[in-house]
Amino acid sequence: MVNPAFLLAVPLGLAFVIPLLKFISPKLTIFIPPLALLFNLIASALLIPEVSEEPIVVSIGGFSPPFAINLVAGPVGALLSAFIGLIGFLVAIYSLDYIREGAEEKYYSLLLLFLTGATGIVLTGDIFNLFVFFEILCISSYSLVAYLGDKSGVEASVKYLIQGTVGSSFLLLGIGLLYGQFGTLNMADIASQIQTPGSTSIFIPLVLMITGLGVEGAIFPLNAWLPDAHSSAPSSISAVLSGIAIGIGIYAIARVVFTIFGAKPVFQLLAIIGLLTVLVGELSAFSQDDIKRLLAYSSTGQMGLIVFGLGIASIEGVTGGLFQLLSHGLSKALLFLTVGYMIYRSGSTKISSLKGMSKITPIASLGFTIGAFSLVGLPPFMGFPSKLMVIRAALAKEELLFLVLVAFVLLGTVIEGSYFLRIVQVLYFTKKKSDSKGGHQPVPLSGLVPICLLIVLIVIIGIYPGLITNFLNSAASEFLNRTSYITSVMG
């Protein structure tokens, strides 16, 4: 067993080694992120079965909770950290050849910092460290969005920075109010003191935190930064931003609402917001003609579905929401990675420039198709069981409200299907343009490996969802069972 603290220490440490290593051998720097993330992936994957019974609580500095800074690697933490490791690892491999310009070593250390931040958010056991890791995540993503240094990238990054900072300030305000009331920053400790449904003095920090985290989680109407940021970033970064960052934002909301506040009714409200997010996201994507913006809008729609799943607040609903989080992460990462090379090849992000791409980049086009099918929720791909779980859980509530909500969610799916399948047609069934401005080399091996791995994962999990549903189930019960979380941390 690996101490969960290493999951943070290794990527964080290596992130700072990279700039130093550049002086010794610039060529070696690019191999550090894949190694670090492979370590994270394997270590967290080994943790998953271990923590499904009893979470591992690591206290830094030898004090016991609530006094120490602690990490809690429960089922949720281990699962999501493995997920971050997986996507991060694949993106790091993809970047080997994809990132060829600019200050590469900065890219890699920022990428590692970004993933450290994400891992920290899912593993931390106290709210102040939640904030710290959150800022690490946000700040590194601001700079990564502007990595290409072009006008649109910088503009998007600044907009993102402004909105992200407003969000972070709200988050910090909420944390400060909680600290003022309870005199502790430990999640479990605060949770044990908020037992009865709250007064306004507890509700205010709750909404401050939801709003603050919601900016990163891209719930409507806080997601205005996302289309710009995701479309201006390099495609590898769009993949982690869309696949990991916003999902982690949703995770943090769930952690705050379920574990700290135990406020399930609030999540019912969030289910409605989730539905709005779905509809606005899908409608915005519908008439989009820029492929990356389209994918970005579709991400907001998918976040809505995840929030909707979590908002059902039953064990099936939360399992479905988490499953959807993973399946969206894998599918959207696949989509952005494949689109990255297509854009590189066609020299433009316009959908019309992707005509006949399947002839030029066959595997990338196949990857795009499978990613799109999975997001729409067509069997036998991963998005099908996850969407099915969410819908089943919603209808198991036997409330008219949820029936109506599900109908609207499926309306979102129809819109989603129409724009994604239109692009599949463009890739396969249109004549390619004679003049393509981009390069002509085939997609390098470092690009094909992550794409193929993601395809295989999406198909295998789509056919055997049983591979991960058990872990998802225990993760969902960690969210819904506050008391056992409190006892396992506080002892």
């Binding site: 069997p379 099908f384 209808l395 198991a396």
Partner: protein, 617 residues
């Protein structure tokens, strides 16, 4: 056994794709071999006892089961035969086109998933195969590029709408009864309140009606059928839309049962009469739209909608005669409509057009295609001694016996219309003057003539001996709770009237013999070449004389103003509206960061307001 069938079907699709990378000849042979094997396996399963077995326990908490009984067997064997013949037909048809491996993969996948649909023992597995069928059909419809893209998109969007409603229905059934097994649902639904039953019926009916192209869900079908490659049009029209029929039988007679289905009414409004009305409209309107078509495949596509109306009418009418007629007509339609699509495909393959205004006179150039079309339209119209006769007779008979003049009249009008457009089809392609440019047309290759011959023979055999398929169909209807019919191999004897196709056949042979003898013993008639037609003494303008243009011109002028597809325009209007809304919605994202920060604060304020107002927590 059932799992083996599916593994061969799906595995064959993937293996043939991989094989195609090495040798296209081997790929072709393997694809055909897979489906010939499957014909064998499904026929063999006829003799095994009906079984149900769980083959995949615990797919996110559901047990996926496979099941076979006589109903699913009948569908399975039809799927296998049509699939095998279409694959063989594809050998030449698809040669020279690009992305052939993909074509074979998809065509095998569509058929494999259709087999999966009919062999499913629970609704979730049904849904999974249903979706695989939908997207692989979408890819195949789009395969021809150009206009096919819009057709494919229209198809898949309607299809996703249908699967959405079906998914709500499935999850709602599961939420209420905790099971999706086809065997357990009837006992559970027996006590369901009528309103809930209606809710479930409508949800599923939207999905099945879209696939089966019942009005008002038919708009995807004409472009999809005409733009798809011909062998796939045959599958689309022959089997894929019949999955909707299968679903409807499943929904009304297996899951809920005949009593609940026929008993669902309130006052004068009875659910199944409303469906019958829909089916009658589906027969009449598309039939006359078909008359006006100038594209051979579009004509057949509209005709498919009309014929689907007959099937739907038979099934939803709900007497033993009409039910047997409905199922039998599905079986017959699968045969003669795939025959017609393949015959037109052969013509299109040689002439590279399917425009009825420019073809003509191909009778001597493509005799097999001509005979196939002749036999096919015989079945379509329902001429005695072809298979369509008996199934239509059963439907008419049941409507008349049950004193339904309007429905019977609609069914008859449909047949008159069918005669009009069938004759137009036959005449404009094969009869009349041969245009100059088609002088050197060769007959279709053997891989095309073989499927045409087999299907034509089937139309005749099942026309002369309708008892062959009717016996299992009778068993099916009996197992669904209907009174058994009194059947012989050549027809039916009952108090409702007797049909003896064997007598008709003998009379036909006898009369033909006499006629042949009379004409032979008469004077030798002069031989007139095909080109030497009568033109009122005037010299024939070379290459321009073709009286297949504007075939039903007066009728067209009469009908055209009334036969606009308003429903299609309505759907296009919705699509346009969604686009408008979408552009509006995007204006939420103004691009000005001040607005965005305001949104953040607004949400915070809204959440606090909600708490203050409703005290949600």
């Amino acid at each position: 056994m059932l799992a083996t069938i599916l593994i061969i079907a799906f595995g064959g699709a993937i293996v043939s794709y991989i094989l195609g990378k090495f040798s296209s000849r081997l790929r072709n042979y393997l694809s055909a071999l897979v489906w010939i094997t499957l014909i064998g396996l499904t026929s063999y399963s006829f003799f095994t006892t009906p079984t149900t077995n769980v083959f995949y326990p615990g797919f996110i908490g559901f047990n996926l089961t496979l099941r076979i009984n006589l109903l699913s067997w009948l569908f399975a064997i039809t799927i296998s035969v049509i699939a095998a013949l279409s694959v063989i037909f594809s050998f030449n048809y698809i040669r020279g086109r690009e992305r052939r491996d993909f074509y074979y993969l998809m065509i095998l996948l569509v058929n494999a998933s259709m087999l999966g649909i009919v062999l499913s023992g629970d609704l979730l597995l049904f849904y999974i195969f249903w979706e695989i069928m939908s997207w692989s059909a979408f890819l195949l419809i789009s395969y021809s590029k150009g206009k096919a893209l819009a057709a494919g998109l229209k198809y898949i969007v309607m299809s996703i709408i249908g699967s959405g409603t079906m998914l709500i229905g499935i999850t709602s059934l599961y939420g209420n009864y905790g099971t999706l097994a086809l065997e357990e649902l009837p006992t559970n639904l027996a006590t369901a309140p009528p309103l809930y039953l209606l809710f479930i019926f409508i949800l599923f009916f939207v999905a099945f009606g879209i696939k089966n192209a019942i009005l008002p869900f038919h708009t995807w079908l004409p472009p999809a059928h005409s733009e798809a490659p011909a062998p796939f049009s045959a599958i689309l029209s022959g089997m894929l839309i019949k999955m909707g029929t299968y679903g409807i039988i499943l929904l009304f007679y297996v899951i809920s049962g005949i009593k609940l289905f026929l008993g669902l009414s309130s006052g004068v409004w009875s659910f199944h009469y409303i469906l019958c009305g829909l089916a009658a409209v589906t027969i009449v309107v598309p039939t006359f739209i078909a008359v006006l078509q100038d594209d051979a495949k579009k004509l057949l596509a509209w005709s498919t909608i009309g014929q689907a109306g007959y099937i739907m009418l038979g099934i939803s009418f709900g007497t033993n005669l009409s039910m047997a007629g409905g199922i039998f007509h599905f079986f017959n339609h699968a045969i003669f409509k795939s025959l017609l699509f393949l015959a037109i495909g052969a013509v299109e393959y040689r002439t590279s057009t399917r425009d009825l205004n420019s073809l003509g006179g191909l009778i001597k150039k493509m005799p097999v295609a001509f005979l196939a079309t002749l036999v096919g339209i015989g079945g379509l119209i329902g001429i005695p001694l072809t298979n369509g006769f008996f199934s239509k007779w059963l439907i008419y008979k049941s409507l008349i016996l049950d004193k339904q003049p309007f429905l019977a009249f609609a069914a008859l009008i449909g047949t008159w219309g069918a005669i009009l457009y069938s004759y137009k089809l036959l005449h404009n392609i094969f009869l009349g003057q041969l245009p100059e440019k088609y002088r050197d047309i060769k007959k279709a290759p053997i891989s095309m003539r073989l499927p045409l011959a087999i299907l034509s023979i089937a139309v005749i055999i099942f026309g002369v001996l309708p008892g062959l398929p009717l016996n299992p169909i009778n068993k099916i209807t009996t197992s669904l709770g209907f009174q058994p019919l009194n059947l012989g191999i050549w027809g039916t004897v009952s108090d409702t009237g007797t049909v003896n196709t064997l007598n008709i056949f003998l009379a036909f042979v006898l009369v033909s013999g006499i006629l042949w003898y009379v004409f032979r013993s008469g004077a030798e008639s002069p031989k007139v070449s095909q080109e030497n037609s009568y033109a009122a003494g005037a010299p024939i303008p070379e290459g321009k004389y073709n009286y297949t243009v504007d075939f039903y011109n007066p009728l067209e002028r009469m009908l055209k103003p009334y036969l606009k597809d308003l429903i299609d325009s309505f759907y296009s209007w919705i699509a346009e509206a969604v686009k408008q809304i979408s552009t509006r919605v995007r204006k939420i994202y103004t691009g000005y960061v001040g607005t965005y920060v305001m949104y953040i604060i607004a949400l915070l304020a809204a959440l606090i307001l909600v708490q203050l107002g409703w005290k949600i927590w």
